[in-house]
Amino acid sequence: MRRLDQRTSRLSWFRSWVSVSALIGWMRSRISSAANLLRQGDENSQHQSRTMPVVKIARYSLVLMDSDGQVVWTREWDSGGVFEFGPRQRLWVCCGFTNYSDCETEISEYEIELMGEDGLVVERFGDSFGDSVIIPPGESKHFPAEWRM
């Protein structure tokens, strides 16, 4: 009888030891996979910021279009020298148009283009209005654009 009790007690001790070691093993695997995920995420973001291109901008332009998609007005500006736009940066550009003519100007959509030193377009932002916007003679309107890297 006593031998049976001893065996049962050893067996329960062995079971609890197995379950504790299994728990430790499970925790270890969780911690290691979480660490791997973190390391991978860090490497990815580093890789991403390394590979994300840096755009050099020298000029930008505004193109206004009517409801038929015809260009009604355009103008180019110097950005004040070449500057770089890269990862973890945001860029806002706001272009203005003033109607100096004697008649109304109807605008349905617009584009703001960023250009490099060679004059090639490196980034483009476009937006359209549900209804055309009428700009009466002598009045102005600003057209914004935003880019994020």
Partner: protein, 139 residues
Amino acid sequence: MKGFKGNGEESGQGRISRGVEVFGDVLFADALRVGGRVSGRVISENGSLMIEQTGDLQADVDVGVCVIRGALRGNVNARSRVEIYKTARVQGDIKTPVLLVEEGALLSGAITMGKEADRLPEEIPLEGSDELHKSKGAS
């Protein structure tokens, strides 16, 4: 407009180094780097102002290009663009047509975007577009 890459007097670049403190108005033509302290106003028709990480300005700035990596308490009016990098601390209003902000920059103030209507229009002729004649001018 001159940039910041050139070095020396020939490049037309001025410098207020770390440890130097200036009180009053600072006027410059091409480019100015500030690593020290300026209290007053910084003015340039079309020049470029670079506030370095050690730079500390308590000034209103009226320039062509303003690049900020240090501290600035004051309003900025930049005719071409403003660049604010992650080490920058800016307290004041900014007026510019082009604004670049890097993640981590501290910026407290109002931002007004758009060109001033102070320049003559420079239209770009488009071939075969009669519509151009309808509307002229820009701000």
